[in-house]
Symmetry: C2
Subunit: 331 residues, 2 copies
């Protein structure tokens, strides 16, 4: 089993790589080769006995897509993307990487498939950003594509391409719309969604964090561990039940900021909660007010995708995976 | 008022041109210039006193999009497309013309707008093909994009681009999803949808027509006259009420084949009906069984788009517009 990860250097790409190396198998077959590509060369994973190729390359540059798949990977995880804020600020870059890069990949598979029998599994990471407000309280699986950002537009167009190429048998594709990842490890960032992770991650590390919105704000979350689980499950299951509708909203955990904080109190203690400083930011509050709070995700659950059971679990997974089991200051 | 029609040589393009010339105004302003482009050079319209440019060009060829808009048209009707059957048979051609051609047009407007103040009205003809079965009995305005053909995929991607470019203020765009055009003038064709028109047009001209499906088949129709009305209305109305959701399913007439035939009997007489020969074709029956029967179209109606009132009206409009008021054999 040869696996290609495009965007292998990102947070999810690194965790996916580590999990594949740890498992050693996918779909019950041994993982014998990994090709890891990102704009900055990904690190070679430790402890992997198979063949590893790492490469710094921009999928939207000429020839890169074809070179990426010349080893005929059985499974392709396409995580490479310009993120939402950057795609909004840089119109051309977003379309080039998120739309053209995706199409070039799909066309490279098409070209290789025509030369012989080749139709890999393609797992495309899409986003809730394909949907835009106004929303019903619970967003159904069949909600229409209404992106309000260029990033969401590009992801929605990628979903449509994925479905058409899959319908034609060029590859066997699935698009998975990931919830907002929480707790995102690393440094605090100024993305409008950053605070959802900041208010948990920083206090757990003994640092202060800023909460710019009201505790009543509700959003849809998945842990990095769950996101990796979604990717592996998407690479494994039979996609025939999807028919021609190839993109699926992943299950997640719907929680208010207040519920997040209550979970932090239970897992990290009152000392951690006291590190959250309230500093209302009307701009962020306005942006976030247009974000989805809860999805039906019945189709994904029926397909066996599993969300985190509680925010306590999300926090505990972060403490295990990122903090070596230790909470600063203790509970 | 300078108007550009891309795809001006097609059936709808020619009727739109004729109507603009006959009206002499759009949005209450005199039509002073027409630019008419198609892959085959469109005919210069008779009786137009303003400036006319006609040109044979492929919108997807380098430089054509920029040249098309160098006269800074106030309104752009984008009707140019590879039709459904051809886009399905020729994958590359469909994507090149229907997706790349549309994107090149939008990017040319973007480039021209950056050089000065330019943000025209863009009317993009989309299609019911952005939706695919299974359908509810009445398809709501917010039904999700589920194309089952490459043509539908390309039109859905065009809708998404249109919305994003409009949201950014690059132009003021609206996508209109036309019902199946009935009665399509001209010769019988072998498109799977051809019989909807053939069974009316041919008997009205004293010719035999083949009906390949059961009379219970229900579909969604608009006359060529209504389609031109939709285009002009789309060019005229304030689009602010659409917000970021820029594509609208047009109203139409939901009718079974049996209801079409009953209307033919009322307008054209029993002699016309007797010219319909029943010759069941399981392949066409299967294709058509996946087509929509009825749309809600409430948003379009609220915006003032008006469908044909009855199939009798659709037939009478055809007799007036195409047959000089005369039915072969008489009623």
């Amino acid at each position: 089993m040869h696996i290609l990860i495009l965007g292998a250097g990102g947070m999810i790409g690194r965790k996916l790589t580590a999990r594949l190396v740890a498992d050693g198998t996918l779909r019950g077959e041994p993982v014998t080769a990994l090709t890891l590509i990102d704009v900055v060369e990904p690190a070679k994973p430790a402890g992997f006995s198979g063949e590893v190729k790492t490469r710094a390359a921009d999928l939207s540059a000429p020839g890169v897509a074809a070179q990426s798949i010349e080893g005929r990977p059985d499974v392709i995880f396409h995580l490479a993307a310009i993120v939402s804020g950057e795609a909004e600020a840089n119109f051309e870059l977003g379309y080039r990487v998120n739309l053209d890069g995706t199409r070039l990949l799909f066309e490279a598979i098409h070209a290789l498939g025509q030369a012989g029998q080749y139709a890999p599994r393609v797992v495309f990471t899409s986003s809730l950003a394909v949907f835009g407000a106004p929303f019903p309280d619970i967003i159904p699986d069949e909600f229409f594509l209404t992106p309000l950002t260029s990033y969401g537009t590009q992801k929605a167009m990628g979903e449509l391409l994925l479905a058409d190429y899959s319908r034609r048998g060029i590859f066997d594709g699935i698009g998975i719309r990931l919830p907002t990842i929480c707790i995102r490890p690393g440094l605090p960032n100024k993305a409008a969604s950053g605070f959802f992770s900041n208010i948990l991650r920083e206090p757990l590390a003994g640092q202060e964090a800023v909460l710019p919105v009201d505790e009543s704000v509700r959003h849809w979350h998945a842990s990095p561990r769950s996101a990796v689980g979604f990717l592996l499950h998407a690479a494994t299951i039979d996609l025939a039940p999807l028919g021609a509708r190839r993109s699926v909203s992943m299950p997640g955990l719907s929680a208010t900021v207040g519920e997040q904080i209550a979970a932090l109190r239970r897992v990290g203690g009152e000392g951690a909660v006291k590190l959250i400083r309230r500093e209302p930011d009307p701009t962020i509050a306005r942006i976030v007010s247009g974000w989805p709070g809860r999805f039906e995700a019945g189709q994904a659950r029926a397909l066996g995708f599993q969300a985190d059971a509680s925010f306590d679990d999300i926090i505990r997974a972060h403490v295990e995976d990122e903090l070596g089991g230790k909470i600063a200051g203790g509970a």
